[in-house]
Amino acid sequence: MISLLRSFWQVLKHTFHRRVTVQYPDEKPYLAPRWRGRIILSRDPDGEERCVACYLCAVACPVDCIALQATEDKNGRRFPEFFRINFARCILCGFCEEACPTYAIQLTPDFEMAEYKRQNLVYEKEDLLISGQGKYPGYNFWRVAGVGIGGKDKGEAEREEPPTDVRGLLP
């Protein structure tokens, strides 16, 4: 009987406790910069697409929500012909971001993607591409990579020495 009265008192005291509810649409919570939300495709400092269409994100994706097709421009630079993410399937795990060798695909602190039509959750490349560089400013894959493309031959990348002439006699 005493324990019953004590539990009544304990519950009544909660009337004056602080509310734990976050009244979401009125009161937006703080989202950390590393929050895993809506996926974007970033650009390099020159304003070109970072994505080299290597398919690693599509392979890493546990729910197979990423679809893309690789192609090359006239300089031999690879880029995706189309890049499609189905956010109805996406579980925002961030594996694609970890797999990406060029920092192209990134997750952002935004989760408010509600739609009335399911089809609207399928994002195409123009929806995914942003104009900025995202979390890794200044990084340009083609400028540091050892592959040659039109306008930049082998050995001309940053901090890269010209390739050794294997047929030459000098060291």
Binding site: L4, S7, F8, Q10, V11, L12, H14, T15, H17, R18, R19, V20, T21, Q23
Partner: protein, 331 residues
């Protein structure tokens, strides 16, 4: 003038009580959710209208638009009848509750017995609803309801007999008249009051005695198969049952509409009496919700052994002592 009092006043009383009770059941949905939220450090429904006050309206509209599904394996006539029984019996019970001085729909001389009979009838809706659903969870809920009924109905009636002994009448207005002349029954009949509150919780199937429903084990117990407005009727019946038991506690043990009148007379005093009754009723409704917020559900056999081995002997002792005192003093 005479015909006005003979015809118009009863009609006004009937519709007034019906209006207040039905709307109270709707408002209680909001009150309960808000109070539970307050005691669980949440806000509760606060989006629809000011303070979320239009939440019952939204709930009702949702229930009306829902598909009213009768399972093909159900016993259809009884399935449809069951939710109607709980509504009618509780509404019938309100007919004998005196809401103010000389304001009562039917001042029966067996008023208390009538209420006990109606509340026993109300159990049929639970038992039949559980049986007609042809679902194992519903059936278990119905079984528990019937076992719970035979455990608490006995001492529920006996706990009130002390009041009847002292007041010398089953008529509810006589009971209030006795309290007007002497003292509220909660003082001389404290044990009866405690027993009746416990039985009242079991009667309205509220936590901690919500064994017929027990959503954590039996899905939703007896109304697992109900949807749409039939479910809504069970829901409204439950809230009206809570209101009925709270009003009964207020009338039988806390003087009903009695209270300080601050020198008012005539219809103003009567109106103040109605306000007093409403305030007392709301206090006990709040207590019912507090019970739900703080107590766990006992096991099935614990409830039954409690009812038969503790509550029933206590009710009998209360009856014997009250009877002896009434005999000795001569009322």
């Amino acid at each position: 003038m005479n015909t006005f009092h003979e015809i118009i006043t009863p009609i006004l009383t009937v519709f007034g009580v019906l209006f207040v009770v039905l709307n109270l059941a709707a408002v209680l949905v909001w009150v309960e959710r808000r109070l539970l939220a307050v005691w669980q450090d949440r806000y509760g429904p606060n989006r629809v209208g000011p303070f979320g006050l239009f939440q019952p309206l939204a709930d009702t509209l949702k229930l009306l638009w829902k598909e009213d599904w009768i399972p093909p394996f159900a016993d259809k006539p009884i399935f449809v009848l069951a939710p109607a029984i709980v509504m009618t019996t509780v509404l019938f019970s309100f007919a004998v509750i005196p809401v103010g001085e000389k304001i009562v729909i039917a001042d029966l001389n067996v008023g208390l017995l009538y209420i006990l009979a109606m509340s026993s009838m109300g159990v049929y809706s639970v038992v039949l609803g559980g049986w007609a659903s042809d679902n194992k969870y519903s059936l278990l809920g119905g079984l528990r309801a019937s076992a719970q009924m035979i455990s608490y109905e006995v001492f529920m009636g006996l706990s009130l007999m002390g009041v009847v002994f002292v007041a010398g009448s089953f008529r509810l207005s006589d009971i209030i008249a006795w309290q007007n002349g002497h003292v509220w029954f909660v003082v001389p009949q404290f044990l009866g009051f405690v027993l009746f509150v416990i039985a009242g919780i079991a009667e309205s199937r509220r936590l901690p005695f919500d064994l017929p429903e027990s959503e954590s084990e039996l899905v939703a117990g007896f109304h697992s198969e109900y949807s749409g407005m039939k479910f809504g009727m069970f829901f409204a019946g439950e809230y009206m049952g809570v209101t009925l038991v709270s009003a009964l506690i207020a009338v039988l043990f806390f003087g009903g509409w009695l209270g300080p009148v601050f020198g008012l007379t005539g219809w103003r005093a009567t109106a103040l009496g109605i306000v007093w009754l409403l305030m007392k009723t709301f206090f006990f409704i709040g207590f019912f919700i507090l019970l739900r917020a703080s107590l766990p559900r006992p096991r099935f056999d614990q409830l039954m052994s409690w009812g038969w081995k503790r509550m029933l002997p206590l009710a009998l002792v209360n009856l014997l002592v009250t009877g002896a005192v009434v005999l000795a003093i001569g009322s």
